[in-house]
């Protein structure tokens, strides 16, 4: 069953001069067709300004298409009556965890979403406990968010979204401001949620390593989907990715370089073990 589907999605905005004359029309999204299955882990790549974030904002109706249609959990986002249902279906996590903290005690921060939805108090506490457990932050429930590391703050942000029981989480570069440990923590947490709670994950990232374990990868350019497929399919196209300002994990690049030099190994190597395995088999 598809959770997010778009049909020829277009988003245009205009620039105006001081006299309110339109000087420029920009097509940030240009005819995107997506069909994302429930429970999938999706990675969206693409250079700065390629339309990734604009696309993400359509998924929970922060922006509306100027052309085409997007359905979230079967609901057309243009249907205003469904706005809250849509935002409850697809939760959103942004880059800077500090901008998402609203309360001075962690459990209250996590409970903020369901409280706004009018969930009964008892049920809120149940959800808060469950969400904190899911992101491995139960021990911090009564603490202040001030002393958390970036990775921990981002996990609290994710718990806050989880407490609203979404079917899908959209993450817009959630690890951009984190150090390597924080990055690992967040990505591990998201993969666990995807596996154990069957939440659909849409991860926008500039870190290629984070896309390696996705079910499906989309690469955007000029508002269009330029490449898509499994990580293996996408990352085997090293030159095309580089032309799109993307890179590949070092192991993939190394394998690609070795192959170019005549070493007989398969395309699209994503893991260290795959490379060592392939090289051992040369004997």
């Amino acid at each position: 069953m598809s959770i997010i589907r778009t049909d020829k999605l277009v988003f245009e905005y205009t620039r105006k001069d001081e006299e309110n004359n339109v000087t420029e029309t920009v097509r940030a999204i240009d005819g995107v067709d997506l069909d994302i299955e429930k429970g999938d882990f999706i990675a969206i790549l693409g250079r700065n300004g390629s339309g990734k974030s604009t696309l993400a904002k359509h998924i929970n109706a922060l922006l509306y298409p100027t052309g085409g249609t997007i359905w979230v959990g079967g609901m057309d986002t243009k249907d205003d009556a469904k706005l809250w249902d849509i935002r409850q279906t697809a939760g959103m996590i942004f880059q800077n965890p500090d901008n998402q903290m609203v309360a001075s005690v962690i459990e209250e921060d996590v409970g903020f979403g369901p409280e706004n939805m009018g969930v009964p108090t008892e049920e809120i506490w149940k959800r808060v406990a469950h969400s904190l457990e899911a992101v491995g932050m139960t021990a911090y429930a009564k603490k202040s968010p001030n002393h958390l590391s970036g990775g921990q703050k981002q996990r609290i942000g994710i718990a806050g979204v989880l407490a609203m029981r979404p079917q899908c989480i959209v993450m817009d570069e959630p690890t951009a401001m984190l150090d390597p440990i924080g990055r690992r923590e967040v990505i591990k947490t998201v993969h666990e949620l995807n596996k154990t709670e069957h939440i659909t994950v849409i991860l926008i990232t500039h870190y290629m390593e984070e896309a390696v374990d996705a079910d499906h990868v989309f690469v955007m350019e000029h508002g269009q989907v330029k490449l898509q497929g499994t990580p293996r399919e996408v990352f085997s196209r090293v030159d095309e990715l580089k032309a799109l300002n993307m890179s590949v994990p070092q192991v993939t690049e190394l394998a690609y370089e070795l192959k170019k030099s005549g070493v007989d190994i398969p395309d699209g190597i994503l893991k260290i073990e795959e490379l060592t395995e392939a090289l051992c088999h040369l004997n």
Partner: protein, 295 residues
């Protein structure tokens, strides 16, 4: 010519219950013309350390010397220091504020009380050095893309003609192409203009590709220091500090374990490739073909 930190300690709220040691016994000399990388996980003291280098923070004890002179001594010209030791903060594009790109780049030198002619000449030069296109001059800095804004912000610091350029995670939030552009720019500045680069980074791959020397900070102390080859040899120790080594180094170690005669100090894709091809040739695998393509 050097920037030297001698027995530097820095403590927040000394003598109170909130006392917190941030830097402990820091001794480091940065020679002019070096490309130094500083790494350490969040809270290890990296930012506090670099803020000592241009007198934004003064040590609780110890000295910071610029060309042998104590920068906190009475009468030391801190304005001069801050033009010689330029600082590019994280997300520097948030500090752009002028109406045009050119005016924004002029802001630094203008504050140095230089003649208007000199200010403009320096801004022109900085635009050239950083590759800010000429037709950006009259545009609003807010209309530019992330990578372009960052270039403009770096140009604004370069217009002060620093001898040392400190950058706190200059590639955060950029796409891989933008990341390479900024790092290549730093490399070029370093090679062509002889500017010392002090780069704070979380990317082991970038550090391995560009830095000559690495300082590793943990809990306020310098725990490792040396060339990338020397530092990345300590994979287990680095993991203990919440850091890692470039993926290329991990690959080399994995191959060594499988019996390949490879250089485990290789940290970049190019080094790893050369070493693997050599090891394969020794084993008699595709030696001819690999050798040809490599030559």
């Amino acid at each position: 010519m050097s920037l030297e930190l001698k027995n530097v300690n820095f403590t927040y709220n000394p003598g109170t219950p909130m006392q917190q040691d941030v830097l402990k016994d820091i001794n480091v000399t940065i020679e002019k013309g070096e490309f130094l990388a500083i790494m350490g996980h969040t809270g290890s003291g990296k930012s506090t350390l670099i803020q000592h280098m241009n007198a934004l923070v003064s040590p609780t004890s110890g000295q910071v010397l610029f060309d042998g002179q104590d920068i906190f001594a009475q009468g030391f010209d801190k304005r001069m220091l801050r033009s010689k030791v330029g600082m590019v903060f994280q997300y520097p594009e948030h500090q752009l504020f002028e109406e045009t790109v050119f005016e924004d780049i002029c802001f630094g030198p203008r504050n140095l009380k230089l003649s208007e002619e000199e200010v403009k000449a320096r801004a022109e030069e900085a635009m050239k050095l950083t590759g800010v296109p000429d037709d950006f001059r009259e545009r609003s800095p807010f209309e530019l893309s992330g990578g372009q804004k960052r270039r403009v912000a770096i140009a604004g610091v370069l217009a002060m003609k620093p001898e040392y350029l400190i950058l706190d995670e200059p590639t955060a939030g950029l796409d891989p192409g933008g990341r390479d552009e900024i790092l290549d720019l730093l490399k070029e500045l370093h090679e062509k203009s002889g500017i010392s680069i002090i780069l704070v980074s979380h990317s082991m791959e970038d550090i391995a590709n560009y830095a000559q020397r690495i300082l590793v900070l943990n809990a306020g102390r310098i725990v490792l220091s040396g060339t990338p080859r020397e530092v990345f040899r300590h994979a287990d120790e680095l993991a203990g500090y919440g850091l890692s080594v470039p993926q290329a180094a991990l690959i080399m170690h994995a191959l060594k374990e499988k019996g390949f005669d490879v250089d485990t100090d290789a940290n970049t894709v190019a080094e790893a490739k050369a070493s693997i091809l050599a090891a394969l040739a020794k084993r008699g695998v595709t030696a001819g073909k690999a050798g040809e393509a490599d030559a």
